[in-house]
Each structure stands twice: as structure tokens, then as C-alpha cells.
Symmetry: C2
């Protein structure tokens, strides 16, 4: 803080700012966007929340963006048309960028089926700030799980343009990490993500 | 983390979650939304950034949302029509709620001239989570400062519906805090905001 300010009506106030580097230094870790992508039922949200929990237990600043806190809030005005899906992912990318700037490791868990939309989110931030994490459970596994009953509805035609059934899923070509959320155990998948953060120097390696 | 997961294709993964209370306990402070409102030139962004700096120096988790990081990002698709201004404030309220949920003290610095819009943002969160902070510099002071030259343009008719000149500013009726950003010194104003956070138990009082 400045020690003195001019006593005039037309005060010129100094604009303070706390940047990412300052927060990283204080917290002992860098921020990043962990962008989980995969089919419905692939385990994106579960994995993201488990990673979030593991990082929280290390005292790191983290947050998960997923359907639960986005679709009924920021994106409540959006439906499922092509334009609305694109806008949905655009907003999520912008919000993730704000969390990144705030020094938080932000985990996004959305199907985000289109490469172009994911690439736009990636382009918003710097090299190394965006880690695309492909949850690779394949369609047969996801459909067998059908935890929300959505595949059955999609097969019955009750849901239109459902990713994997009636709308394409464009798998990442060069994701920073691909995790086998089909047959892998949760703990193994979590460790793979956490190791990737350590090896990239985003978080300190645990002793 | 669970110590074991079932080894089956149709794995039921436990959904972990880290809530606000857990983060507050770990960080030693609660989260809150500090919603700064006032005329253009009243010093909202400067005050918010100075408070942010002061809280950062205490090691607290904070972030500022203002025109710089919102208008060119999340709200780049919005103009200045009534509907777009309302949507702008709606999105800011929703993003502030996400930061609140993540355990961060989030400071928003926007003119936000309409009571109804501010009240909607307040209604998104719980009692005590939203502190409306009125930056009370009056029009004559703001127009005299005219740091961005906007008042001159508004008087010349080059900017339409400019708050205070050709569009109303509805001052808060019962703000949690009113700060004299017209004649007050920055350091005094910062201390008033920080004291309010201490007295409400959001942050610990400094020894």
C-alpha cells in the first residue's frame, strides 16, 4: 500500500494488482486448467472431483466446474442447439481463464465433444496453462453404465443429438493426458492426473 | 480417497466433494462477495484492487472481477442495451457465486446502476455472503475526475445512456457499507472495507 495519498478532490489513486506469479509464489503451486473431456458416463466429473479432493488434501487451491454448478447458473439461458452448445463451452473457457488468473487449479468436466470448441478454450490461455485430459471410456462401457439413463432415452429417440448416439464425439488427437476411465480404477486415474501436474511443475512433487 | 474400488467394467465411482466449509477451515477465512457499486470514476476498481492487495498481503484467497477481465472475455458478446446490461450483471453474479463456492473472497467492480440487478445477484447466494459496498463519490466529483474522458463524451452526446448523465444511477438504500470515495483517502477506504470483513467474522482480526 502507498503510505500517503494526495489530499485533493481529484485524487489519483494508485491501481494495485496481484498477479498470477505473486499468487503462485505465495501458495507454492502454479495454476492451470484441467479440461476433462469424454462421453457422457465416462467419469469426467467423478474423476475431476476426486482429483480436486486429492489436491485439496495437499492444501492446494482448486475448483471444479461441471454441469451441476454451470448449467443451472451461468448457462441457464442456454439450450442444446449447436449455437448454444458452442456458447456454453465458450463461457466455461472464459470462466476457467478467470480461475486460472486467480491462481486456482480449475478442473472442467463437460462432454465438450467438438475439437474446435476445445481448441478455442485452449487458445484463450498461454502455452502450458491448458491440459486436455481425455477420459477414454468407450461408448459400449458408457452405455452399459448409463448412470443417468440418458443412453436409453437417446436410443429411444427421446433425446435428440445425444453425443455418441446421434451426435459425434471428436476425441482429442493430442491430449496432454489420456486416462482409461473405462476399465481403470479411480485411484489409478487420480494418480495419473496428479503425476502429470507434478511432472509439469504445476504442483510440487510430494516427498 | 477410498482405499479400494470394485474391479468391474461398470465401476461405481464415489463422488468426492470439497465444500466451502472445508476450504474455510483450511484457509482460515470465509469467502464472500464484495459487490462494489457506484458511478463511473467513483473509484470502484481502484478500491477493489487495493482491498485485494491488502487481503493478499494477509495470505487470503481473493480475486477481482472488473471491466478489464469481464468485458473482453465472458461478456464480449454483450453490448450496452438494457437487456445486455442486465445479462452482463447476471453473468457477473453467477461467476461471483462460483468464486464464493470455491472459498475465495471475490470483489466485483462494476457501475451496476440498477437496484433490481444488484438484488438479483444478492439473491443468488446466502444471507451474509453478499456485501454491497457503495462507492459514494458524487457526480460532480466523478465528472471533474473524468479519468477516462467518458463524461465529456457523454455530455457531447457521443455516448448514449451514460450512467449519471443520460441514464439513472440507483444508489443502494441499505448497503452493507458506504465508503466515501469522493473525498476519502484510499488507505482510509481500504481500512473501512477490511474492518467490515473482520467485524463480520469473514476474515480473522489482525493482531
Amino acid at each position: 500500500m502507498s503510505s500517503a495519498s494526495p489530499k485533493a478532490t481529484n485524487i489519483v489513486w494508485h491501481q494495485a494488482s496481484v498477479d498470477r506469479d505473486a499468487r503462485a509464489e505465495q501458495r507454492g503451486h502454479r495454476s492451470a486448467i484441467l479440461w476433462f473431456t469424454g462421453l457422457s458416463g465416462a467419469g469426467k466429473s467423478t474423476l475431476a472431483n476426486a482429483v480436486n479432493q486429492a489436491l485439496f488434501e495437499r492444501g492446494l487451491a482448486t475448483y471444479v466446474l461441471d454441469g451441476d454448478n454451470i448449467r443451472h447458473g451461468l448457462c441457464r439461458d442456454l439450450g442444446f442447439s449447436d449455437a448454444d452448445r458452442e456458447e456454453n463451452i465458450r463461457r466455461i473457457g472464459e470462466v476457467a481463464k478467470l480461475f486460472l488468473d486467480s491462481g486456482v487449479i480449475v478442473l472442467t468436466a463437460f462432454v465438450s465433444p467438438f475439437r474446435a470448441d476445445r481448441d478455442k478454450a485452449r487458445a484463450l490461455v498461454g502455452e502450458g496453462d491448458f491440459l486436455e485430459i481425455f477420459c477414454s471410456a468407450d461408448l459400449s462401457v458408457c452405455e452399459e453404465r448409463d448412470t443417468k439413463g440418458l443412453y436409453a432415452k437417446a436410443r429411444a429417440g427421446d433425446i435428440k443429438e445425444f453425443t455418441g448416439i446421434s451426435s459425434p464425439y471428436e476425441a482429442p488427437e493430442h491430449p496432454e493426458l489420456s486416462v482409461d476411465t473405462g476399465a481403470g480404477e479411480l485411484e489409478t486415474c487420480v494418480n495419473e492426473v496428479v503425476s502429470a501436474l507434478e511432472s509439469r511443475g504445476i504442483i510440487p512433487a510430494q516427498a
